[in-house]
Amino acid sequence: MDALLPQLFAGLSLGSVLLLAALGLALTFGQMGVINMAHGEFMMAGAYTAFVVQQLLPDAGVSLLVSLPLGFLVGGLLGLLLEVTLISRMYRRPLDTLLVTFGVSLVLQQAARDVFGAPNVDVRAPAWLSGAVPLLGMDVPRTRLFILALAVAAVLALSMVLKVTPLGRRIRATVQNRDLAETSGVSTRATDRLTFFVGSGIAGVAGVALTLLGSIGPTLGTAYVVDAFLVVVVGGIGQLKGAVLAAVGLGILQAGFEYSTTASLAKVLLFVVIVAFLQLRPQGLVSVRTRSLA
């Protein structure tokens, strides 16, 4: 029983990292159907943004607060560039988009390697995030709590944007019925671009958050992008609720497997569980009902 609570928190913490990584994908893959393999590299770009900002602003606390919005901007602009140049041509070929964006991710990784060097770099965490706070009888690292809070904030902000703002209304309209939205006067092209900007921006924020957990390198994104896609697949497309549930669920499962077996076996077990889960609900946890055959 003693081991249960720390395990649960470890899972929750892992889940919050997964959620931050997957939230942008839930928007670009879930809502738009675009498989962006370069999503992980947008996270990497966000992480290096935090690194550069800290070189310019040595105070760790200030630089973190500056990095978060700047990481959003960097990730978002990269995403916008990708959408305008490549993805917009390929909306009818989702599987090919996957390969093209994989090419983009190769280029971005190598660019990072050439600019920042292959070895990992460190970003210092601010003093108010160092150490741990006692919570329910265990010591919880402040950085983990911060990421948890950041993930919650990101989900709330995104769902508010989707629910109440005009942009959110346009996004939902485009997802539900692209043609009808277009005839109703919504510019679906502009909506696509903005959706992609926001989704990629969240990846940038996730990258900034990852700097708190360890050193960062050019391949930072590849470690997360596969897991993030799995979160979206399990969660089901079209709604954020699914992604949140899936991220927390997978996080707790993985932490549990890692505790009872080994880290490497945990990945395989998780994969088996996901395939088994798709037997029960091939459409994911939460899905929008449609009458389409596909």
């Binding site: 009818r92 090419g103 076996l265 990945k267 395989v268």
Partner: protein
């Protein structure tokens, strides 16, 4: 598939009769390939280069499978490294065991582990069991996974992501279980291959001939598959899965067969790769090497017979020669290849000639026979229908062209 297209009508005017004859170009091409592979290459290449070529041929075997599953079947297989790795590791385990002698313990196990051969390694002491395992185990895994996934109509992007996750999990597992898999270093330092000394250049050449022969057999198998009723079904499932279902076939079974065959091809490629390269490690099987295998297939023309082979060999060769001199340049180049070919030339270089000819012909006075626009399968919404290119260009030796010819 697409019926008479303007290009095919014009080819009839431009090309001699025998050229259009079903299979003549294809079997001619295969014969030419055999002459080049078995006759010319060993005569002109040094032992080192020939061994390199043998390595490329092993990777081309994976490409043949990808061409079948992805090009014809529309399944974007991002995790072929798993099957390649399974074949490679099975073969490597057998070679390590036979190097160690009867009852012996492979050297790396003494180094990392407690020097006890785990029980599930023991059957691989037998060459027969090893060969059977290489042929059946990866194909079986693909069949089980494929049935589980396709039966529930998980497809398109979802299948691609699952196959990718499998590759990631497999690589992590290999690294993590160092005591029995050699960890990051993988398995290497093989001395003999089924009793033949690997240090002997004659035996190295023999390995090359085996690889070349196996590759040709695989190409012929794909050709026969695609000529059969099954081949037509596979392409039909790619283009309109629901219609195939309405006609009374089970698309899941059709897809599983192609996936399992592709897995078996990859496994055999891996099994030959291990003795040829002298090493098999997690770096050969993870997510990135698995996807990298796709670029050659895309360049050569995913839905053609020889395209994946030629494309894959060309890419391997370019990688070896470029990455030695400019390691960072190669990665940019590889990325640019993915972007350029997939985005702008989805049928691969094999379609370039046809595309150019159509463009030129559009300006000439020949009357249009059919609609000039491509007969694209209606691409469905998010990740549903694999929006594949229409049938291969008229001048490519594809079965789809043969089909069109028969029906036209």
């Amino acid at each position: 598939m697409s019926a008479a297209r303007p290009g095919s009508a014009r080819t009839a005017v431009a090309r001699p009769d025998w050229w259009r004859r079903e299979g003549v170009r294809l079997w001619g091409g295969i014969a030419l390939a055999v002459v080049l592979l078995v006759g010319v290459a060993p005569a002109v290449l040094s032992d080192f280069r020939l061994n390199l070529l043998a390595k490329f041929l092993c990777l081309a075997m994976v490409a043949v499978g990808i061409g079948l599953a992805w090009g014809r079947g529309g399944m974007l297989v991002l995790g072929q490294g798993v099957f390649f790795g399974l074949g490679g590791y099975l073969m490597a385990m057998h070679m390590k065991l036979s190097d160690a002698g009867p009852g012996g313990v492979p050297d790396f196990m003494l180094l990392y582990g407690d020097g006890v051969v785990p029980g599930w390694w023991e059957p691989l002491r037998s060459p027969v069991v090893t060969v059977l395992a290489i042929l059946l185990l990866p194909a079986g895994l693909a069949a089980v996974l494929g049935l589980a996934v396709f039966r529930r109509r998980v497809r398109g992007a979802y299948f691609a992501i699952l196959s990718q996750a499998l590759a990631a999990a497999f690589a992590i597992l290999l690294v993590g279980q160092q005591k029995v898999t050699g960890g990051t270093n993988g398995l290497n330092g093989f001395r003999s291959f089924f009793g033949y000394d690997l240090a002997d250049p004659v035996n190295k050449r023999m390995l090359y001939y085996i690889a070349a022969g196996v590759l040709v057999v695989m190409v012929v198998v794909v050709r026969l598959l695609m000529r059969s009723r099954y081949g037509e079904l596979l392409v039909a499932v790619r283009d309109q899965e629901n219609r195939v279902r309405f006609l009374g076939y089970d698309p899941a079974v059709v897809k599983v067969v192609a996936y399992a065959v592709a897995a078996a091809f990859a496994a055999v490629g891996g099994a030959l790769f291990a003795p040829v390269a002298g090493i098999i490690s997690p770096a050969d099987v993870g997510v990135v090497p698995s996807i990298a295998l796709l670029v050659g297939v895309a360049i050569g023309g995913r839905a053609t017979l020889l395209g994946p082979v030629l494309g894959s060999i060309a890419v391997s060769w370019a990688e070896t020669s470029l990455s030695e001199q400019f390691p960072s340049f190669w990665t940019y180049f590889q990325g640019a290849l993915f972007i350029g070919v997939v985005a702008f030339l989805p049928n691969g270089l094999a379609s370039l000639g046809g595309a150019l000819r159509r463009r030129r012909a559009r300006g000439s006075a020949v009357p249009e026979v059919g609609p000039a626009s491509d007969v694209r399968p209606a691409a469905g919404s998010a990740g549903g229908v694999p929006a594949d290119p229409p049938a291969g260009a008229p001048d490519v030796t594809t079965d789809t062209v043969d089909t069109a010819g028969r029906h036209a």
